[in-house]
Subunit: 210 residues, 2 copies
């Protein structure tokens, strides 16, 4: 790729990152092109679909998610690992609204992203199993409760980044307290929030990624 | 008002209620007019601003909120009253996405709505005070934590109404458990989510109500 094409591409990714972080993934491709000062045709030549652009923008964060879970699995204390994984992923969501949306979006053509997300989810399932086996996590914690927590975290991160971070930290602290095994109070049944239900939503080039 | 004008007005309110419930308050006035099979001019003659339409649609629910808090204040057990008020308001949010948004929107010209919301908020502050005085609610529960909970609840009520209700019930049960006085774990400081910060957001006729 020539230097000016490389420069264009980098600027598109940088602009898209900022727009997604502030406004979520619904920003139209035409708006991204305008902010990056390139034509729409140039944008689509570099990134034929919005999915391709989102994949490029968030590749680093999906990889970071896997690292977070790997670090947590390496912790000899299962409860501390479980809490650290949740705290770090929610903190990543709180500074970047785009990543929250990307995490639950479908990427039918992005095998790498799907694989990294699967690794993160399976690693988290293992963290859950260990924390329960150690008697530290309540036995009725359901896999869907992780999705519940991520969705609740998305709900509190409106507003400025600082407020979002403070709100997210407080919510996560409350919920981790509620997840502890000492919590004996009965719960209503888990909501069927299987992440795969979200992932199977139809995807279109422009607006399919939610 | 003539019978056909009355009929038009009722249909507009009914259609707006359904659209707000399913899609939030961002539905454009033109879409509401089309679904109600009236011209945009007719819609604006009946409701000069979106705020006026939102006020009409949700007047009953704001009044219901006040009743919920009044019922809770009448409960001799402060903790039971506190929990019931939160459970019932969150359940109202879960079946009606529009109401969630309306509850935190600014209504500069709707004195009735503002007064009812103020009554509900002040009543809830009194519930909080009593539950703390009875040693049932943790002392570090902050007024902003109610807003935190309402925002988290908004986050989990995507999807079908049944899933939304189940998710909301589970989240609320977790959080009420976390709010109990027995919870001694330290918390990060409360996020500055003062409801008034939301209410003071600028409002425009078409899209100002978030």
């Amino acid at each position: 790729m020539r230097a000016d094409a490389r420069h264009n591409r980098d600027r598109i990714v940088e602009v898209a990152r900022e727009l997604f972080a502030g406004r979520g993934l619904d920003v139209p491709m035409a708006v991204i092109a305008r902010h990056a000062r390139v034509g729409v045709a140039t944008l689509y030549r570099r990134f034929p679909t919005k999915e391709a652009l989102v994949t490029e923008v968030f590749a680093g964060q999906f990889a970071a998610c896997v690292s977070v879970v790997d670090d947590a699995l390496a912790d000899p204390d299962p409860w501390r690992g479980f809490c650290a994984a949740i705290e770090r992923v929610c903190a990543m969501q709180a500074v970047d609204r785009g990543f929250s949306a990307a995490f639950v979006a479908a990427f039918p053509d992005a095998v790498d992203i799907e694989q990294e997300r699967d690794r993160a989810i399976q690693g988290f399932a293992e963290l859950t199993r260990r924390a329960k086996a150690a008697g530290q996590l309540r036995a009725d914690f359901a896999p869907d409760d992780l999705v519940l927590l991520l969705m609740a975290n998305c709900g509190v991160i409106a507003g400025s980044t600082e407020t979002a971070q403070a709100a997210s930290r407080r919510l996560v602290a409350y919920l981790l307290g509620a997840f502890r095994a000492e919590q004996a109070g009965p719960l209503p049944p888990p909501a069927p929030l299987n992440l795969l239900d979200f992932l199977h939503a139809p995807v279109s080039a422009e607006n399919g990624i939610r």
